[in-house]
Symmetry: D2
Subunit: 213 residues, 4 copies
């Protein structure tokens, strides 16, 4: 079994991307599965192309993309990617799409095919704060999540895939007032747990990760 | 022209629903259009049935559903409804669906057909804090938003529809520490502006309301 | 009876100061008492001098200073002013004191002599969100609060005095994401209630406004 | 040289107190100084008595009390303790003082005599998120901080003392939505750094840790 895990380059004013740092530090073997680690550019379209090429090359069974969600306290397992690009700031190549579709022939949205509730449960058992998120935003993170699930739908039916957001790490908040962060080694440990749960659960479990608004 | 605006009954531990209170206080005529006000139950499925019945009866041109998002500071114009019910607490009839589809034959998601960016712009011009939201949650609010857009897609192609979340009002936060609220009359004024903008703009404007996570 | 109420000039990147705007809009007579309104500069030392001069001129019975606390959701009635100036940004005259005493011969701190719990209670009865705050910061707001209470201690023993922080108003948060604000007319109404309660209660009431950290 | 470090028993609904857990895990020797670790009850008055007894017994040069501030993201070095007990919930012995003085013959407040800015600087150099706080609340934490500084002022003039608040640790937020936490080993590492900086700096450094409200 092979699991492809991707992390983004830094973007915006940040000099590092905790997603990428954590991905690099992950184990190389988890439950017997080979972990393939890929850096993707924080660039619309190009990020999906780099991902597609790597999927073709490595033929993974599971793909997990990881991005930074500064300001969140917990690991958040994304539920859904939506067919929209709407960027508040330019990406690393200067593109700033506004209200454009990711793919014209795609569904309005795709749901993660990872066992997202089971993943949260396993993380909590391991004392790593985690919850479901219902939005990956409208920037490159959502773009890549949607792109991955589009590719799975169109070309790679047997792959399970989804997206995980990680908080800032400590060194990113040293100059910020009262901003949540997570210890890098704990994020890394969390990613290992996420892979393990993704391998272990063929079907997701039925527990609520719901909201009330 | 007719505009149907709905507000929910109170739910959870709250005794009033600011969405309903504001809807009740809206003008009866806006830009010559008749405003039809409808209370909907905070109940899965039943809320959509009540809405469908009212659409049949009144044949509105525009439908705007309004709900409470406690903890948010601003009026939030929802971008997308997703095909999932995942309730953290039971609804007012005791139903608590977990990871069920709203409609089996629906799309994964539907985008609001209101001019959401133009609405935010008009609200800001009127000094009412507002922004785009990318998630209406997974409770009865998202359920009704998705249901409305499903009905439009299947049966009422000419209707424009969408969903707006409003903050707590002052009397709801008096016993809470440091929780944002909005003055009820300002929410009401905001809803009037939202209807006006929805009538005025056939096509949405191209400005970013995007995010960076 | 006379009540002196002060509001600061705008500071930092803000073009208006909601404290000053609300003070200007207050009633001129409350419970028979004359309300004297004073604009004070957002400047260390000078603000206290302007206040002292006005106290000498008007001989008020009660003095309430009002400032902006951007990011807070509620009216906050300050409990204590501390003998320290520690400015994160320069004041409106370019001064940026770091860890200096406000007055060398002052106490380490002075407690508000307003009936702060009774004020919160009356505000809540009037449906205006309010709570006690245990810190007025270390900028010009705390400086003026401390200065007022120092002057009372040294020269004006019969005056009751204290400080109130108000949230941003709507027009200040229009370009900010999810930031709490309060409707200006509600802040103004709140200040009128605060004066009324300050006149009504000679002694404060015994209810908790406490914290648990 | 001897440094006494105290941690509280758990209180409220929490089963553990991260302050105590971190104190227990601290080094026994730092820069040649002996570290004495003391558990104190989360009880008004009794906590100060236990502290006083331990000071008498051990004659430390530095005393650092540590408590939990759930909801804060960073290590916060407290600037000032105030002469007030105002408890929102009962302490572990059922006492709930409201607006009582800690000591009738004490100052209104005492400032920490630790080098608080230098401590924050050293923590940041070590990549541990930290900032100055201007309020330790009005519960047992402030009570003990004030009590310590009162004892120093009255009886132990040569001791340097102060208070540090620590965030929730991960296992405390697993059932909470989006609540900041810090990795226990990082809190522990932070406490070691705080002791080191307290030994190293006789005088505090002049940098701003100020606020703007």
């Amino acid at each position: 079994m092979k699991v492809l895990v991707t992390g983004f380059e830094p973007f915006g004013k940040e000099k590092i991307n905790p997603a990428l740092e954590a991905v690099k530090r992950m184990k190389d073997k988890i439950q017997g599965a080979e972990i393939i680690k890929l850096e993707v550019p924080t660039v619309f379209n190009k990020s999906i192309k780099v991902l597609d090429k790597s999927i073709k090359e490595h033929t993974p069974d599971i793909v997990i993309c990881v991005g930074q969600a500064g300001g969140r306290s917990n690991l958040t397992i994304e539920r859904v990617g939506i067919n929209i690009d709407d960027a508040r700031i330019p990406d690393n190549d200067g593109n700033q799409p506004i209200d454009k579709e990711v793919f014209k022939d795609g569904e309005n949205a795709y749901f993660s095919s990872l066992p997202i509730k089971a993943i949260v449960n396993e993380l909590i058992k391991e004392k790593i704060p985690a919850e479901i998120s219902n939005t990956a935003g409208t920037y490159v993170c959502n773009h890549l999540m949607y792109g991955l699930l589009y590719l799975i739908d169109k070309k790679y039916k047997n792959i399970k895939g989804g997206f995980v957001h990680v908080p800032f790490i400590q060194e990113q908040v040293l100059d910020k007032k009262n901003t949540p962060s997570m210890f890098l080694d704990e994020i890394t440990r969390g990613l290992n747990v996420i892979v393990k749960a993704s391998i272990k659960y063929d079907k997701d479990i039925k527990v609520t990760g719901g909201t009330t608004c």
